[in-house]
């Protein structure tokens, strides 16, 4: 499932930088009791919640919606 991680990072990195995108994926996986490589499409609700929580203070709502949609599409 490493491709899921790569997809999430590739969508997030242009907005928050590579380091923060990597950290986000690791933290999300850790929160689910998994490793980054174990994240899958079934974890999308948690990933979406975390993306919204992370970006809400710093990004326009429309941009966050776009990012979530892009992640959903890329790992579907």
């Amino acid at each position: 499932m490493a491709f899921v991680v790569d997809m999430i990072v590739s969508v997030l990195a242009p907005y928050v930088g590579q380091t923060q995108a990597d950290t986000f994926v690791r933290a999300t996986a850790l929160g689910l009791g998994k490793t980054s490589d174990d994240l899958g499409a079934q974890d999308m609700p948690s990933i979406e919640n975390n993306v919204r929580r992370l970006l809400k203070p710093v990004a326009p709502a429309a941009t966050i919606d776009g990012i979530v949609t892009e992640i959903e599409r890329s790992i579907a």
Partner: protein
């Protein structure tokens, strides 16, 4: 980065820089009173245009979202400076007066808490990405060092100057203190907080704002010193600092609009 920067943002930057250059070069070629007219009205026009760009960004953000509140504070700060410039232009250009203190001072002074609050709010928004404790320590250390240097180099002479009136002296102290504590320190705090996102698209607009505000603080401090020494008049090269500072903030606002 350049692939997502809109044509509008490039235009704001390009036209802004050209306008600043035009105003400055024109003031070099003219003598008073025409020089003062171009300097005052040129700066007013540029800051007003910057305020329009920032307010348009605010209008594009959804009411109630945190980012909108932050940009609202920045827009209000730029708008207040434009209002101060408008009042100052009326006094100097149309009434031929050059008073200190003047009725423009309340507007200029109001810029400090409003713009400072916008920057602190932005810095706190990025706290989840950064080590806030370390950033606060670094910001505090640099700010106190600058404040000490300012006191030794400038403020002490202002405070002990017996030739100026109480209100003029209070304002002469308030401006540099505002520059250090309400503009420079929040700008540094925000820049260090945003730094963790590097050149990510969510960080870049705030690079524009922090750079602009830092430029305003430095320009204000230079103005305070020159004015105290009796070396400042409208059209001085430091006027460029205010214009470029507000232009940088406008570019930051336009980059935020590019996210939508």
């Amino acid at each position: 980065m350049s692939d997502w920067v809109s044509r509008r943002t490039r235009l704001v930057a390009l036209v802004g820089v050209l306008a600043v250059m035009l105003v400055y070069v024109t003031t070099l070629l003219l003598a008073d009173p025409a020089k003062t007219v171009v300097s005052d009205l040129g700066e007013f026009a540029i800051v007003l245009a910057a305020a329009v760009v920032v307010f348009r960004t605010v209008a594009r953000l959804t009411p109630g979202e945190p980012l909108r509140t932050r940009w609202m504070l920045v827009a209000a700060g730029v708008g207040l400076f434009a209002a101060g410039d408008a009042v100052w232009s009326v006094l100097e250009v149309f009434l031929g007066q050059n008073p200190f203190p003047s009725s423009a001072d309340p507007f200029y002074l109001a810029v400090y808490p409003v713009l400072g609050a916008g920057l602190i709010s932005a810095a706190l928004a990025f706290r989840q990405f950064a080590n806030v404790r370390r950033i606060v320590l670094v910001t505090t250390a640099i700010t106190l060092a600058l404040a000490a240097a300012l006191y030794v180099g400038f403020l002490h002479a202002v405070i002990t100057d017996t030739e100026t009136t109480g209100l003029a002296r209070a304002l002469s102290v308030a401006y540099p203190l505002g520059d250090i504590f309400l503009l420079f320190a929040p700008a540094l705090f925000a820049a260090l907080s945003v730094r963790s996102l590097g050149t990510g698209r969510l960080a870049v607009p705030w690079w524009g704002v922090t750079l602009g505000v830092a430029l305003l603080a430095v320009t204000d401090a230079a103005f305070g010193w020159l004015d105290f020494q009796g070396l400042y008049s409208s059209g001085n090269i430091i006027d460029i600092g205010w214009m470029l500072g507000y232009l940088s903030i406008a570019v930051g606002a336009s980059l935020t609009r590019d996210l939508l």
